[in-house]
Symmetry: C2
Amino acid sequence: MAEPLRIALAGLGTVGAGVVRLLEANSALVARRAGRPIEITAVSARERGKDRGVDLTPYAWVDDMQAMAGRTDVDVVVELVGGSDGPALTLARAALDAGKGLVTANKAMIAHHGLALAELAALHGAPLRFEAAVAGGIPVVKGLREGASANTIERIYGILNGTCNYILSEMERTGGDFADMLRGAQDQGFAEADPAFDIEGVDAAHKLAILAAIGFGARIDFAAVATTGIGEVSAADIAQADALGFVIRLVGVASLSTREGETPHLLQRVRPCLVPRGHPLAHVTGATNAVVAEGDFVGRLLFQGAGAGDGPTASAVVADLIDIARGDRTAPFSVPVAELEAFPKADPGHRLGRDYIRFTVTDRPGVLAEITAAMRDAGVSIESLIQRGRASNGGDVLVAMVTHEGPERCVTKAVDLLSGSPSLTAPPLVMPILKD
Amino acid sequence: MAEPLRIALAGLGTVGAGVVRLLEANSALVARRAGRPIEITAVSARERGKDRGVDLTPYAWVDDMQAMAGRTDVDVVVELVGGSDGPALTLARAALDAGKGLVTANKAMIAHHGLALAELAALHGAPLRFEAAVAGGIPVVKGLREGASANTIERIYGILNGTCNYILSEMERTGGDFADMLRGAQDQGFAEADPAFDIEGVDAAHKLAILAAIGFGARIDFAAVATTGIGEVSAADIAQADALGFVIRLVGVASLSTREGETPHLLQRVRPCLVPRGHPLAHVTGATNAVVAEGDFVGRLLFQGAGAGDGPTASAVVADLIDIARGDRTAPFSVPVAELEAFPKADPGHRLGRDYIRFTVTDRPGVLAEITAAMRDAGVSIESLIQRGRASNGGDVLVAMVTHEGPERCVTKAVDLLSGSPSLTAPPLVMPILKD
């Protein structure tokens, strides 16, 4: 058997410890599939003494993880430190600069600096892999980059954040409100103490930007992802959606407009959406992730599995290492980084689709007339409308509607027409309806 | 850009024509992702004159497709002729013998001769790829071979035949019987005029044997796949299953027993199964395919998409070609063919699980006592039982039950005890319940 692939592991949190466990438990199988052993040479983390449930004595301990990039006994650096910049980025750059391979689970770093790192990797002929950065254990980076590589990708969308999906599906199951479910998720360890990155959609946006780059051959443009979190979704919205035949999910959607004779524009959005109950994403509950890629020849592909956790993430990290050990040198974003295209950002107003709009209004005569007049004036055609009677405690009334298919700019205009109206007691909530 | 990868296309049915269309439509994109153009050099089929909706004039026409293996202007032969033996196999062998790559969509040939072909490929250093042989456009061969490569695979199962799934889900939707749905499927082109390979489960068994080899590092053993088709599933079974919270699907299941200190045994079965309504496979309707792989670190991965059709199959064929053009030389079954293990066939009697058993009996006193006594004597514990009243046209009565979890051999014994009983007017139908 050939020489081992020697790796250095920076970061020994749950994922890092998971990688150590995996390489211990499945070492023979990994070596068979990789064509050679994969061996940990050096490890590094902030606290040396901490009990991580794995035996680290066989590996060299490195106090300054930046030193890993310079070690002659290391072929690949595995970066599991996290953070888009700072030590993780410094290490990533140094490793590639030294001609070493880099494997990372760091979605923030790839979303912000993936292109620069891919350029470094190309310059030094070093492999760069980040399967674990998107949707945990699901091999969707590979599925898109290689499995669907014969297709012009038309749309990529999916449930990319397990915390949000857990909260939304728990709200659905129990009828409870967002704040309660968030506390439940935190108690059960599904949500961080500071859950902003998750519930505001930033984590999903990182992943979406990476998938869009691979699927469309686009230069990553994280700043162009329009992101809305799930904080405004109420139990009442979920009940209305249910009555109309939908569930609510936080969905990241990327699509490339391809109108004859026009420059293609890239639309990237993370938003709570209404998903028709017959759609595969409607059945994705709990912390599960799922990604759909639609290609011109393959049609709709669905990849589903655990989007986080030490085991699944370690599985993705080691799959990348096996690819590198096998000699795979596929470009990290499917085409060489120099060939990635910078697509301008699409105007979401051009989107043709159906929308759900929820108004919170005072309970007095004429409000419905005011709302429907605004819809008419903005050119929005209403497919169905539900007005819920006043809550027993008095107060506001909910008006929820679903529009017929039309340009999104009309819905935006309707909402603008109503802004400032004394009838509305809260800003309206608009959620796109996912096409079936 | 590097030299083109030159391919010869043997077989110009719907899939062959699809490959031509794809390579025309997406040539620039394919070249960017492959790092070099992929060009058709020569084509061959039985009838030269037939209109296939594609322009074949740019390519050399070869009357005797076997001559393709000898052409110096061909790097990879794409075999889309079909049939486990005969001309397809002769061509496959000749191509590999000549050191050319081989890409095929031929599940029967790989299930029967995949090992011999992989040996030839290894001997000559030639790439062998067959993504399109399993589940059409879904990149599940790659997903298992590479995406899940860090895992000890515990179980692989899925809906592997679109025709059967279309028939079963149509029976479910309409309440109709098997024969009517089969005719409908044939009218709509979902089923062949001779549907035996599909409805008897042979096609699914081919695919399962291939997946099991990759997932478990096993020598393909198609003969060991225990296969039962869907011909015995009645509208009444579907109704009973529904009442009990299940849908019925034809599921291929492969698992490797891993009892401490025992030789691992491989269980491979294709059978109609009851799938709990909360399981992802329960939502797979129509001609869609779906495969689940369960790994020790990644947990449950689901791959879903179009399992057949010219576009999806061409997508898989060209993805293989792109891999080859990129220089990928991963072993076709994940580990070198010489390292694949020959696992003995597992005794399904050892399987611990729940089963659905349906009896068709004469409507007279004592029949239920006879059946339940046999269950007791065989050690089968009944979880629920439904006896449907006599049909309005008189005749037989249906007794359907679901067992508690237990060894399958007990169910077999109970059925044996009742065999020959004059109370039974048809052989009982046993269907395993898929674990949730």
